[in-house]
Amino acid sequence: MAVITTDHLTKRFPRVTALDHLSVEVQPGVVGLVGANGAGKSTLIKILLGLAPATEGTARVLGLDVATEGGAIRERVGYMPEHDCLPPDVSATEFVVHMARMSGLPATAARERTADILRHVGLYEERYRPIGTYSTGMKQRVKLAQALVHDPQLVLLDEPTNGLDPVGRDDMLELIRRVHREFGISVLVTSHLLGELERTCDHVVVIDGGKLLRSSSTADLTAATSLLAVEVTERQDDPAFDVNAALRARLTEAGLTVGADSGHVLLVELDGDEVYDVIRDAVAELGVGLVRLEQRRHHISEVFAAGAHGVDGADKAEEVAHV
């Protein structure tokens, strides 16, 4: 069963349209929600929590309607906001116990769950110290802990790696994977950093300007088609000769899809081992040296580039995507 379904979800503010007929279906797992700042991520989360009404369209979380069953959704969902949200003068234990009770857990259960979850996110002795004395990484763990303490079926994590150093970032991403793998809790995680989501998520939903750019599995996005980066030398006796153009023409003629990155590197779609032979022969026939021949993966960022340049963004938003 899908954990999140939106159908032509639209949110208009007086000046801007934050979400524009967004139709998407999110299955259990770790799902990344990517978009630049202002793409509509936070608005979507607010609507999914039943805290803001949609202008048009519908959305369901865990099978519950956001418009009418917000309370039931918020009982089963955890939320970690992007911004600071921790009072500095109480300890992590006191704070998380309080938040557990706000989720309806009886006092004893709240204390037990708090001890458990703080251990799971990696806070030990320091949990008795005031939060004001914590590092950014520890604060992020407390924020995650309060989102998990009531054992939700789904957590919404808004930019959980914000402000962390590279090591802290890796730790947080690993923790997020464990939330799904070991705790069995589905995760919707937002980020504007694409590299992170490639490593962490099973599926990625890309939105821009409130519209759906793409929604597919991370594997589809990055690994289905590998690229070969090809770089060759110039002709010693004829520096004016455009080797790249010639090579490109030959490869295209041979039926290959050829692109180029910003420099002197051609990117060739690798759809079989024979591609290597074709490139080798073409380079040899041109009589130039082969400097580089290496495999590259697509990056999610290319989706963005394609979306920004493509004219079919609106059409894509119309179709219901299955993650």
Binding site: P81, C85, P87, V90, R101, M102, S103, H120
Partner: protein, 297 residues
């Protein structure tokens, strides 16, 4: 700890206890609202907070109660047979203490959550914004009620110990409880409403104190002007401008208690009814505005 299954030398054995799902009861919005009420009421007296945050509320509670203890002790010792101060009168005399307590503690209940942006965490739970406001309002009302009823309770118990007139003391203690209820509703409502407007606790404290002081000053000055210009009979209306004078006048009018000369003129029947209505409007209005304030977060 006995992770017997953990491979030797692993540093992360503590993780291997494994994640346990929660199968127990989820008690819902009513329970969460009550929990928030309890923790906020404790917070209003600095309980469960650092030692520093206990100083002011506890000091105000002591300043409120100690004179009552002294009055009782002296009255019993010299066998007066009657307490020298009437119950509602005691609250009027110590109005300033109630105002300081409200100014200091109302921002504790609301400004903290605003300043540290904890409010969205509450609203991402089953609680609605109106439940949050209800819990905070009830907690502050209860805190002021405890503060104001405590000294009168001391006086009433003292009057019993001193074998004073049971009927008289119980009746006037009841008048005092009504006055305490008015103080609680009006002071807590005004204090919280102002506190909800700023994430800065200091601003909240200053603004609330200013409201009580300035309105008292304006009200007093106007009364003087009316006396001098010969509008003495109508001068009771100025009590409407200050919450403390308003409650004092209303309670005196309701129970026909003697007025201290310098407080106000006894209101007419029309005046009394209008005063009562103003108390109701202040209590209900501040609550409604608070609910509105938190609707869009």
């Amino acid at each position: 700890m006995s992770e017997t299954h953990a491979p030797e030398g692993r540093l992360d054995v503590i993780h291997d206890i494994g994640y346990r799902h929660y199968e127990g009861p989820r008690l819902g919005v009513g329970y969460a609202t009550r929990s928030l009420y309890t923790s906020s009421l404790r917070g209003a007296f600095g309980l469960g907070r650092s030692g520093k945050s206990k100083i002011l509320p506890m000091a105000m509670t002591a300043i409120m109660a100690v004179p009552a203890l002294i009055i009782v002790a002296v009255s019993i010792y010299v066998k007066m047979g009657k307490l020298p101060v009437d119950y509602p009168q005691y609250l009027t005399n110590l109005q300033f203490v109630t105002a300081v307590f409200t100014a200091a503690q109302a921002p504790v209940l609301l400004s903290r959550d605003l300043r540290f942006m904890t409010v969205p965490l509450y609203f991402s739970r089953p609680l609605r914004s109106s439940d949050y406001v209800r819990a905070k309002y009830a907690a502050m009302v209860s805190a002021v009620f405890i503060l104001t009823v405590l000294p009168m309770l001391i006086m009433w118990i003292g009057s019993m110990l001193g074998s004073m007139d049971f009927g008289y003391n119980t009746k006037h203690f009841a008048f005092g409880v009504v006055a305490a209820a008015f103080y609680s509703l009006v002071y807590a409502g005004l204090g919280l409403l102002i506190a909800s407007l700023t994430p800065r606790r200091g601003f909240g404290v200053a603004a609330i104190i200013a409201l009580f002081m300035v309105s008292a000053g304006v009200s007093g000055a106007l009364r003087e002007v009316m006396h001098v210009t010969g509008h003495q009979a109508a001068s009771f209306w100025v009590a409407m401008l200050n919450p403390g004078f308003l409650i004092d006048s209303t309670v005196s009018w309701m129970f026909d208690l003697p007025l201290r000369g310098n407080v106000a003129q006894m209101p007419t029947t029309l005046g009394g009814v209008v005063f009562l209505a103003e108390i109701a409007v202040l209590a209900a209005g501040t609550f409604a505005l608070l609910v509105r304030r938190y609707r869009k977060i």
